[in-house]
């Protein structure tokens, strides 16, 4: 099954909305002055916000099976700027133990790998 990628243009405003929704107000995400003084040189998006693009992709691809039996295991490889354009993609792997398996990743507009890992959802659901 081919999987259409999910592309998102992030913004500081959206990151602020995610901070408000999640309650994660870590200044590295929302305080530009604080973040400028860190090795990142500016604010970065919440990892869970960037990761949500993969969940959206899997909900689109696997439907309810993702909501009731999905599994995800990822590593955050690099920080995502609050103005990045991100692309989440999934490559089908060999099914295992009744689960559809996908290698997933998120990259920014420069092609830099931000997140990589695997997700699974029950097959045939």
């Amino acid at each position: 099954m081919s999987v259409a990628p999910v592309v998102k243009q992030l913004s500081p405003e959206q990151v602020g909305r995610y901070a408000a929704a999640s309650g994660d107000h870590n200044p590295i995400h929302v305080d530009e002055e604080f973040a400028r003084a860190t090795p990142f040189g500016g604010t970065i998006a919440h990892g869970m916000l960037v990761l949500a693009a993969i969940s959206e992709l899997m909900a689109e691809t696997c439907g309810e099976a993702w909501l009731t039996g999905g599994r995800l295991r990822v590593r955050f490889r690099a920080p995502c700027r609050t103005t990045d354009t991100i692309t989440a993609s999934a490559k089908p792997q060999v099914d295992r133990d009744g689960m559809c398996v996908y290698a997933v990743e998120v990259r920014n507009q420069a092609g830099e790998l931000l997140i990589s890992g695997t997700v699974e959802a029950p097959a045939g659901a």
């Binding site: 590295i28 860190t38 909900a59 909501l67 990822v74």
Partner: protein, 140 residues
Amino acid sequence: MAAPSRALLTDLPKGHEFPPVTFTLTPEYVLRYLDAVEDGNAIYLERGLAPPLCAAASGLGKLLDLVELPAATLHTGQEVEVRGGVPIGAAVTLTGRIAQRAERAGMAICALDFELTPAGAGGPALTGRATVLAPAGLAT
């Protein structure tokens, strides 16, 4: 600077258990989450099931409400396993623990395991592990 009133995450030992927290995953919370991540898929509301990462983020947020996080804390890994799904509007009980803790070059690596169990359910509807990296032994 005032001393933190809660323990620093990086000071907690492996095996530390957080007190259970019960809360409701309200439709309003889910809608705010979907607006924030800009996910317009109608399936969540049609099926009455929270997006897995919405449930995970809410649980993780409640867990991290119980501790102080160094300002430079970074999220380095995430695992989620859905076991039936988390109903929107359900009261859920969150349990969590420090599953792993290691220190290297002044940085602490902590793995937090958590489970969300809906009221009346026989077991968790979602489990997860968040791995974070933070300066060891620093106040916020």
